[in-house]
């Protein structure tokens, strides 16, 4: 990055207000033209545990949450103990000195910034959460921003309670001023800009993007980390005229969605891996009926129930193998949060045009992460391409025009695409069947089974995909084809790999980057042309077995020279990839399994086994509370 950036880490237990402090901070800096990328590592618990939110802030848009902490806001003693040692020189730690104090010396060059919160805000006694407001005020000052952004955010957050606004603004201002008076500013000072930013999550963008692209039916069963898509739709269905339903299970979800889509409504649903498993049978139904459907699968750490609040890219095999038999499907993995916004539109268009299921593979990082996006990018009217769809007949009689050929729903056309009439249109009556059927829809699975018609129909369906690449953009290499290393990733790792590439190049290891968004069908020609010339291919992915590397090999024959993988629940950070590449270049290792061992990831497990955490500098027992 060319602009200076600050990474603020906010830590505390569930219930301490980590997320809301982070949100206030992000919105505040955004109003001063700062871009933000935030990742919250949380646990599935309502009180207790350890939440660790990192916000990366800069005038230049960050594309990942970075891999260090410049400013720590400790909301409890535990956080201070865990993270103090992680601060980089020039960094600082903010904490309520009335409640906690460091258990050990800070690293060299790290500034301790104790905030005497009770003295700074009279409201503290009743509202201990004021410590958060004070700290946010302070950190904003230390990053070099002025107070206006925070003031306006507090004003709009508590718009209906002027007294609350007042108390909060006073506390924030006290923190701001106290910091100015007592602490050294961060070495990186942010440059205010006039850029407007929208602060979004991937899930919100999926939902809004789908609505903009004509989604009229959304159906879901709650499942982390996909639930927020349902919640966005539920909150907006009425005003937008979208039918939004929560139903009994994922089987029902997808069958309803296909049912709605069958009538001509653009239908979408979303879930996570376990829910996708239940949807697989109906993905085949969509394939066989040639009724489009768009399914978002937000991956989380598996297998089985796994770790519901942790990220992974472990469902590629499942999406690829969803349902029995052969039929065309499309699988797309958005690369970034802004991509989450545009992908549903693309998915609907290709689903309609090719009359097939489309699976969008997101993951917790992308779907639940927070990022600022230029609002102009969101104010878009997507082109809507419904393919060969018949929604009205020339004559509203009980049949078609005299002399017309009878309508064949599954007509064996040259393109393989058969014009699709939706139920309700006069003169196009047909039955759509999950059994094999002839061009007119009549079953050929039963007494009319025969080989020739059967093969014809399989071939028709297969042939449909011949032109699909006209609508699916091919991946492009970023960087030089002659680079020493080419990093290949898919989906959500785009941002973190991009930064690792930048750093590697800076460190003299010439590196290029190929990120795959369209997984199925695969751009074999383009990818082979690029990787066939690459000197050393290293695949980076957030799973254990290398599902994408296997897919790449299956499609192109290309076997990567190295693999960097992570499956400990936490996402990659740029440093992991940089180190992984170096390790592979050193030789002797083909697969680097990255593990985050910072003390922040460790839990106090009452019966748990040992392990190689980096450990805290001060044992919990010695902590002053």
């Amino acid at each position: 990055m060319k602009e200076p950036d600050v990474i603020v880490g906010i830590g505390g237990a569930a219930g301490d207000g980590v997320a809301s402090a982070g949100n206030t901070l992000a919105l505040s800096v955004a109003r001063q033209g700062q871009a933000v990328y935030a990742y919250n590592s949380y646990q599935s618990v309502i009180r207790g545990g350890h939440s660790w939110l990192r916000l990366r802030i800069s005038a230049e848009k960050p594309v990942n949450h970075g891999d260090q902490v410049d400013a720590l806001i400790a909301l409890n003693q535990d956080t201070l103990d865990r993270h103090l040692q992680e601060l980089v020189p020039g960094g600082l730690a903010l904490y309520n000195s009335a409640k906690m104090q460091p258990g050990h010396e800070p690293p060299v060059g790290v500034q301790l910034c104790p905030l005497p919160v009770p003295d700074l805000t009279p409201a503290y006694a009743k509202l201990p959460v004021m410590q958060n407001t004070v700290a946010v005020g302070a950190v904003i000052r230390l990053m070099g921003l002025d107070f206006t952004g925070l003031e306006s955010v507090l004003g709009s957050t508590f718009a209906k309670k002027p007294q609350v606004v007042k108390v909060n603004v006073e506390a924030a201002k006290a923190g701001y001023d106290y910091a100015a008076a007592h602490f050294l500013p961060l070495s990186a000072q942010l440059r205010p800009t006039t850029q407007q930013w929208a602060l979004v999550t991937g899930n919100e963008l999926f939902a809004m993007g789908a609505a903009f692209a004509g989604c009229k039916f959304y159906c879901a069963y709650p499942m982390s980390p996909a639930t927020h898509i349902l919640e966005w739709f539920a909150g907006h269905g009425k005003q937008l005229g979208i039918c939004v339903r929560q139903v009994e299970d994922e089987i029902s979800v997808i069958n309803m969605t296909i049912g709605a889509s069958h009538m001509g409504a653009r239908g979408m649903c979303a879930t996570s891996g376990g829910g996708l498993a239940l949807m697989t049978e109906a993905i085949g139904l969509s394939g066989m009926l040639e009724t489009p459907v768009v399914v978002i699968n937000v991956q989380r750490a598996g297998p089985s129930t796994g770790v519901p609040t942790k990220t992974e890219q472990g469902d590629l095999n499942q999406a690829f193998g969803a349902s029995q038999g052969d039929f065309p499907r499309i699988i797309i993995a958005p690369l970034s949060m802004p991509d989450c916004f545009t992908t549903p539109a693309l998915a609907f268009n290709v689903a309609d045009r090719y009359q097939c299921p489309v699976i969008i593979l997101s993951d917790l990082l992308l779907s639940e992460g927070n990022e600022t996006v230029d609002p102009a990018l969101l104010d878009v009217e997507f082109p809507i391409d419904r393919g060969e769809l018949i929604t009205a007949a020339p004559e509203d009689g009980n049949g078609r025009q005299a002399g017309d050929e009878p309508y064949l729903r599954y007509k064996d056309t040259a393109s393989g695409i058969s014009p699709r009439a939706v139920p309700g249109v006069p003169g196009h009556i047909h039955v759509a069947a999950s059994d094999e059927h002839d061009e007119d829809g009549v079953l050929i699975s039963d007494v009319y089974t025969d080989t020739v018609r059967r093969k014809k129909m399989v071939d028709k369906r297969t042939r449909k995909m011949a032109t699909v690449f006209e609508h699916l953009p091919a991946p492009k290499l970023e960087g030089s084809i002659d680079a020493e290393v080419t990093l290949v990733g898919w989906g959500s790792t785009w941002g973190v790999i991009s930064e690792a590439v930048e750093r590697l190049n800076r460190e003299g290891i010439s590196t290029s980057h190929l990120q795959i968004k369209v997984l199925v069908p695969f751009h074999v020609t383009e990818v082979s042309a690029i990787l066939g010339r690459s000197r050393r291919v290293i695949v980076v992915e957030n799973n254990q077995s290398g599902q994408f590397a296997r897919h790449l090999r299956a499609e192109t024959g290309i076997k990567a020279h190295g693999h960097i993988r992570k499956y400990d629940g936490e996402p990659f950070e740029p440093k992991h990839i940089v180190a992984g590449v170096k390790k592979i270049l050193e030789g002797g290792t083909e697969v680097v399994d990255v593990l985050s061992t910072e003390a922040g990831w460790q839990t106090e497990h009452p019966t748990g086994t040992e392990g190689d955490w980096a450990g805290r500098l001060v044992p919990a027992a010695a902590v002053i509370t």
Partner: protein
């Protein structure tokens, strides 16, 4: 429902392909009743959608001239629910078997009633799995010997009527494919009922269920219409639902006098009218407002 009515005949609803059910199969009577009911109701074939699952009975849409879907085993109701919500101008009928609806699909059945989606659900209840050649079904009687229960079925018989009543279904009826005229009447009333309507039909599988034959049913069934049954009386309906033995009631068990509004009439997203008739996407103004929420 039935905004336009036309003069229609049975032949308007007959598909070109003849049913391939075994000669004598109860499903012929069910289909026949439906031809007559639809002709009587005057909905034109393209305004009707018949959705089924998989099973002998579920082949029905192929023999009925209207829009049709032959979906997945057990999943006809969710498919049809989505379809109805997307285009509530259509008359939506779901047809299937006891295995399809009360076995693998049971959850959807109960939830559909709870949600009061305006669908007419016709179950061809032959107390066996016909298409897979005669295994035990949820409505097979306890003790029944089938291919998969050679020592007799150990499970209690599922009671669709009682479950429907317990689930708030507003129209609960049972018919017998040996009495197609009676069936026709149940169908027309059910389709006219504004909400979920169940018609469980005794439809003998002459090939694989030698126990529950036409004879067996004929000896037992009696019409509630011929007794003093009051179909608005929930308790009486529950009593009728529990009656099984020498005498088995058919007819209208229960109809809610003031039925709950159907789902599509209530869904906030459908207030502008039929979903598929609405313009796609979002107005410029709405777009701005939505983006604003994030700033």
């Amino acid at each position: 429902m039935a905004t336009v009515t036309a003069v229609l005949e049975v032949k308007d609803f007959k598909a070109e392909v003849p049913p391939d059910w075994c000669p004598g199969c109860g499903d012929f009577g069910v289909l026949n009743g439906l031809f007559h009911a639809c002709a009587e109701l005057g909905r034109r074939p393209h305004e009707v959608l018949v959705v089924s699952g998989i099973g002998c009975s579920s082949n029905l849409p192929g023999f009925f001239r209207s829009y049709g879907v032959h979906s997945l085993h057990g999943r006809a109701l969710p498919f049809a629910t989505g379809a109805k919500l997307a285009n509530h101008g259509m008359t939506v009928i779901v047809t299937g078997g006891d295995g399809d609806g009360y076995g693998i699909g049971l959850n959807h059945f109960i939830q559909a009633m709870r949600r009061n989606i305006d669908i007419t659900y016709i179950v061809m209840d032959n107390e066996t799995y016909g298409l897979t050649t005669g295994q035990v079904s949820p409505t097979s009687e306890t003790g029944m010997i089938t291919k998969t229960t050679p020592h007799g079925n150990l499970e209690g018989m599922l009671n669709p009527m009682a479950l429907a009543l317990a689930s708030g279904c507003g129209y609960v009826a049972r018919g017998f494919s040996g009495q197609p005229k009676h069936l026709q009447k149940l169908y027309t009333d059910a389709i006219r009922h504004p909400g979920f309507a169940l018609i469980d039909v005794f439809s003998p599988c002459v090939t694989f269920n030698k126990h529950n034959s036409y004879e067996w049913f004929r000896k037992r069934v009696y019409r509630l219409e011929d007794s003093r049954h009051d179909p608005n009386d929930f308790h009486a309906a529950m009593d009728a639902a529990l009656e099984w033995g020498e005498k088995i009631p058919i007819g209208l068990f229960y109809q809610n006098r003031s039925p709950r509004p159907s789902l599509h009439s209530q869904d906030p997203g459908l207030q502008a009218g039929v979903l598929v008739d609405q313009p796609l996407g979002v107005s410029k103004e709405q777009r701005r407002k939505l983006v604003e929420e994030f700033i």
